[in-house]
Assembly symmetry: C2
Homo-oligomer: 198 residues x 2
């Protein structure tokens, strides 16, 4: 069984996934973790659309490519190093749809105030990502496909009370990635008030 | 070392904490986990104000009580069972300030688009909560004190680019809590499109 801190400190965004399918039991284990996140008033204002159908995945891929080529690429270029940019570009123009499973995480506006939704939805999404890492799978969180929300909602036949807030492709990683690089805690933490460095 | 799925599946919101102080090493371990969350473009748009000063904690407590008594209590009453409501009421009218450590998680609007901030901030907050659970500590995520954001920002001397988005009191739990109750995955998940039950 994987140790908690090994999983958390080793989490990476995996853009390069193998097409091997994931069995139901594995998907259920990931979703069990996601549904155990905390939420305001324990209202669990989430729903998960698990997309495996190649046509639906391809349509999500097309939609993501349209957002990317319609402005996001130009915005992001220059903000990322050349190598990371090339990775993201490959992912946004086809890589996403090759993941065997794409989970669309939806917020339920009938179960939580719109302003409180993100504080419940993204912890559940993070549990999903961490559980994938714990099982040796690769995943990442993207909000890019949600930019064209109406198109995504139509594709998934979402009712009006559900809002797609994150898209998480999951599969076996094509390659191992080293530990993530992070700004040290001492540069991100303060004592009692802002400005008093940790 | 705690196992990943034990931590994730056992996470609870702890409102009743002992006042025993937490050493720096423990706080740093929690923040190390928080800073290892993913973020858009790996920009890590977060800052953590670790409040231990009793006066600052009391001021956050007063502010939370004011939000609670100024409308939130009436809104929440009737939405929760009597026992949970009584717990939350005790917490919002004094319990919060008795936690030895209160971490205010801030989003950095200079490092991420406002629309992308929540998708980076709440995964980091969830890592913080899970790490507390992994170390046998109690914690919870509240956005209640952020309702009076200007007052909270003044108290913590936050610069204009930081936005307090979550408040996380942490300490040793006064009592053990049973495993959380959650709606089953089969009632929250769909295959390929909404409506096709898992």
């Amino acid at each position: 069984m994987p140790e908690f801190f090994d999983v958390v400190l080793g989490q990476r965004a995996h853009r390069d996934l193998l097409p091997d399918p994931l069995p139901d039991e594995v998907v259920e284990r990931l979703l069990l973790a996601a549904t155990h996140a905390p939420s305001a008033e324990n209202r669990q204002p989430w729903a998960f659309v698990v997309v495996r159908d190649p046509d639906v995945r391809a349509a999500i891929g097309d939609l993501t490519r349209a957002v990317w080529e319609g402005g996001a690429r130009d915005f992001v270029r220059g903000r990322l190093g050349a190598r990371l940019f090339a990775d993201v570009d490959r992912w946004a123009t086809g890589g996403l749809a090759r993941a065997p499973v794409v989970v669309v995480v939806c917020g339920d506006t009938s179960a939580a105030e719109p302003g409180a939704l993100a504080a419940s939805l993204y912890p559940a999404t993070q549990n999903l990502l961490l559980a994938a890492q714990a099982l040796g799978l690769g995943a990442l969180l993207s909000t890019l496909p949600t930019v064209r929300h109406d198109d995504l909602a139509a594709l998934l036949e979402l009712p009006a009370h559900l809002r797609a807030m994150a898209v998480v492709p999951i599969g076996r990683p094509a390659r191992a990635l080293p530990a993530p690089r992070r700004i040290p805690v001492r540069d991100k933490a303060f004592r009692d008030r802002y400005g008093r460095r940790w």
